[in-house]
Symmetry: C2
Subunit: 218 residues, 2 copies
DNA sequence: TCTGTGGATTTGTGATCACATTTGTCCATG
DNA sequence: CATGGACAAATGTGATCACAAATCCACAGA
């Protein structure tokens, strides 16, 4: 019938628990939180101006996606990943991302490549400015821009949960080894896209993914 | 007014929301619910003898894993997957499961293969008895028994969420085409395991996964 | 037979509270 | 200086309630 969203004056259309979820999700994926950071229901609730109930639902949702870990006493915190687990998550990325890139290749037109190019420049800028959050954000946006063309929401959705799990760890990685040069494989990815070379594209993504996380081992 | 909180202090029992989650999860993964089945918080609460709060947390968790879909009005139901989505999920299985099998191959000893053999016989029995839930259950157990040896909890966890999403659909598939013979690829999997042939094992799993879901298309 | 319209019922959402348990702090004791 | 125990604060859990929106259903009108 009437599609008018005449919600209560206090809040906008999206439910409170969804706003909390989205906000926390961005913070985690972009590496704004360090590994092992503890979170409380009342604290999150206060931060977003809601009660415990929506905060609880948001955190439950995030723990279900692996973005947060649940201690035995029910306390939530950002995960501190073991080396084995990092290797597993990197392997998942190495399996899914070449597939998504290959699916996107057929649909990739010039405007898309240009957009990725400009995102890559923003990424290089973030490195110059030593801004970890912006570096992670633009790096993920570079990949996501390509994968959105794959028209494969299920695979992309699963991949994003993997990124979520790696968020705090990637932040810790960045601050530990302060990189000064842009990731070299982004150029290879763009070249393979322009050439329409499927094999080269898959290889470039596999190396970009595994290389970036190999530094964390040890 | 329920004055009997009856928390049974110091009795190490899982929280209510966790019990609800596990129960619903099994029902979904084993195909006890058909696609499109609607669920209500109060209904689930009554079914498990708890209030709305734990039921809400359990359903939120399951929707986060893709086991349930959330309508615009906030109602939850088992997913009705499109053909495209089924193809995507099958592709994910085709990528992850050969990898898990390969990792398990090095650690697979004779007792494991024997156990898989007996599970496979239970699977064939379920087919003879035309029992869809038991068929799905033993089929998943066959795969999981192998993958547990891979010692890769992150990959296996991700894969299980894919199985979850396919649960109701696999049930619908089964009742639609009433299979009468056991899946032929399980034998190939067992043979490749005995021979220690990595390439053959990967291939057997890829075909087992894609073949089983190809029937659903159209 | 079909349609839409009104009200009654069902349902999800968010706040609040009681309670058991965990965690933190401080001080006495060895 | 280290250790442990008692007390206080903090925290997750689950029940309950009010409320608005969505859904359902009977019934009148075309």
């Amino acid at each position: 019938m009437n599609e008018a969203q005449t919600r209560q004056a206090t809040l906008a259309n999206p439910p409170a628990h969804d706003r909390v979820y989205r906000g926390m999700r961005l913070q985690i994926m972009h590496g704004e939180l360090l590994p092992g950071q503890a979170l409380t229901l009342r604290g999150i609730g206060k931060q977003f101006g809601v009660s415990m109930t929506p905060a609880r639902e948001a955190l439950r949702r995030l723990t279900a996606e692996g973005a947060l870990t649940l201690s035995a006493s029910g306390r939530v915190a950002t995960p501190e990943l073991s080396n084995d687990r990092i290797e597993e998550l990197a392997q998942i990325r190495a399996l899914l991302e070449p597939e998504l890139a290959s699916r996107a290749l057929r649909r990739a037109h010039l405007a898309l490549i240009d957009r990725m190019e400009s995102i890559n420049e923003a990424n290089a800028r973030a490195i110059r400015l030593q801004n970890p959050v912006e570096y992670i954000r633009t790096n993920l946006e570079f990949h996501r821009t390509l994968y959105l063309r794959a028209q494969s929401p299920a695979i992309l959705g699963l991949l994003e949960t993997v990124w979520l799990q790696l968020g705090p760890t990637m932040r810790a990685l960045y601050t530990r080894l302060r990189r000064t040069t842009a990731p070299p494989h982004h150029r290879l990815i763009l070249e393979a896209l322009r050439a329409g070379d499927d094999a080269a594209l898959r290889l470039a993504l596999r190396t970009d993914v595994t290389q970036g996380l190999r530094h964390l081992q040890g």
